[in-house]
Symmetry: C2
DNA sequence: ACCCGAACATACTCCAGAGTATGTCCCTGC
DNA sequence: GCAGGGACATACTCTGGAGTATGTTCGGGT
């Protein structure tokens, strides 16, 4: 965070924390939040609980970080395309395409978004955690709103035909979020291959919203 | 199952078992599988664990029954429309519409389908449970295949334009499965209201696949 | 050479929750 | 009217997992 005299040391430390975060994402994605034990996360690292608790205060906070990371990736990769050249339809296509690629390439993080929403709906978290969850849900809502706004913009500039932008956003996001559920990378699969697949998906799905 | 001398008694008993099943579905949907305790299910019934364990041998078996019920509802309500009058596009529309209505009206059961798939992907269930899970996944696959076949039929009869029926099935199911995630019934909502919403969703989503 | 703190590992505590064993009530058939 | 079993409630056991307290190693600063 703050500038330390030895920047190199800070970078190493951050990397090791990152490893823990990635292992946690993997575990949470596979077994779900509750079924994942802190020992599971440690085992995946070839380490012990000590290491995990050294970097994260508790299991909820570890999960929250995974969630936060997932959204921040989406916002950076896909959300940025909201402001860009071309019609609303063109921008929406770029957003959706980037979103699908995120679902495929950072699947371990992205699948935790759904888990987080479930946790929110009827979590028994108390006070402090509740507040954090609210904040995370706001981040998610903010990201989704980019899609909603773009649908509305498409209605205005005539490039999209969405009677209900809110509903359109939900069906579109449903279709492309679902990618994280069924997609698994083929061995020896290249980036170009994924891009082609993403294009195919987006082409088909977006067909329903074009003017 | 088998015909008993006193049919009335059997019916009453079946109803009480049904109550437990519904309570379990509600709990599993809210908290997820692992986070739900057998005491939670009992508490929702205003009863104790004794009652739950009287009707179901274990927690996994209870969940499996919920899952099985969810698919059987889908197959009965939506799957049956695979064989019907009209073009493949018309049949697909009826299937999708019924599917969406199931997502809204039997949400508690349907949301457990996703949980089941997650459980399957990396469950630590052993031997017997593993076999049951395989069987349940087959049931799900069989249901999804109805959509896949209908897309293929639409390619043949010229009513649908799906280059890849398998991919089309996935994006379509993604969009309409997602309904169970975001939909919650408005107070005082009528069946007609839900049907209108379902029509709106299906109209929009199907647009992308029409020839 | 020594100290200190980051970065872990080890060895505990403690509770929630699955499963069980047993008791209780009531209805039904004889 | 009584024997038996279905349909639970009560009262346990026992393990797994979150969190903690304490030990250990190692690299850098003085």
């Amino acid at each position: 965070m703050t500038a330390h005299p030895i920047a190199a040391n800070d970078g190493i430390s951050a990397d090791r924390r990152e490893e823990v975060l990635a292992a946690a994402a993997e575990c949470f994605m596979r077994r779900g939040y509750e079924a994942t034990s802190m020992d599971d996360v440690a085992e995946m690292l070839g380490a012990t609980k000590g290491r995990v608790y050294h970097h994260f205060r508790s299991k909820p906070e570890l999960f929250f970080e995974v969630f936060r990371r997932a959204i921040s990736i989406l916002a950076r990769e896909a959300g940025v395309h909201e402001t860009g050249p071309g019609t609303a339809a063109a921008r929406l296509r770029r957003m959706a395409r980037a979103h699908v690629l995120c679902m495929m390439e950072t699947q371990t993080f992205q699948r935790n978004l759904t888990l987080g929403v479930d946790l929110y709906r009827f979590g028994e978290t108390s006070a402090e955690h509740r507040a954090t969850l609210e904040e995370l849900m706001d981040l998610r809502r903010a990201y989704e709103d980019a899609f909603r706004r773009t649908f509305a913009a498409g209605k205005a500039d005539g490039s999209l035909a969405a009677p209900d932008p809110s509903l359109a956003m939900r069906t579109l996001l449903g279709a492309i979020n679902w990618v994280a559920v069924w997609y698994s990378p083929r061995p020896g699969e290249t980036r170009a291959h994924r891009e082609a697949l993403a294009d195919g998906i987006v082409d088909q799905v977006l067909q329903g919203y074009l003017a």
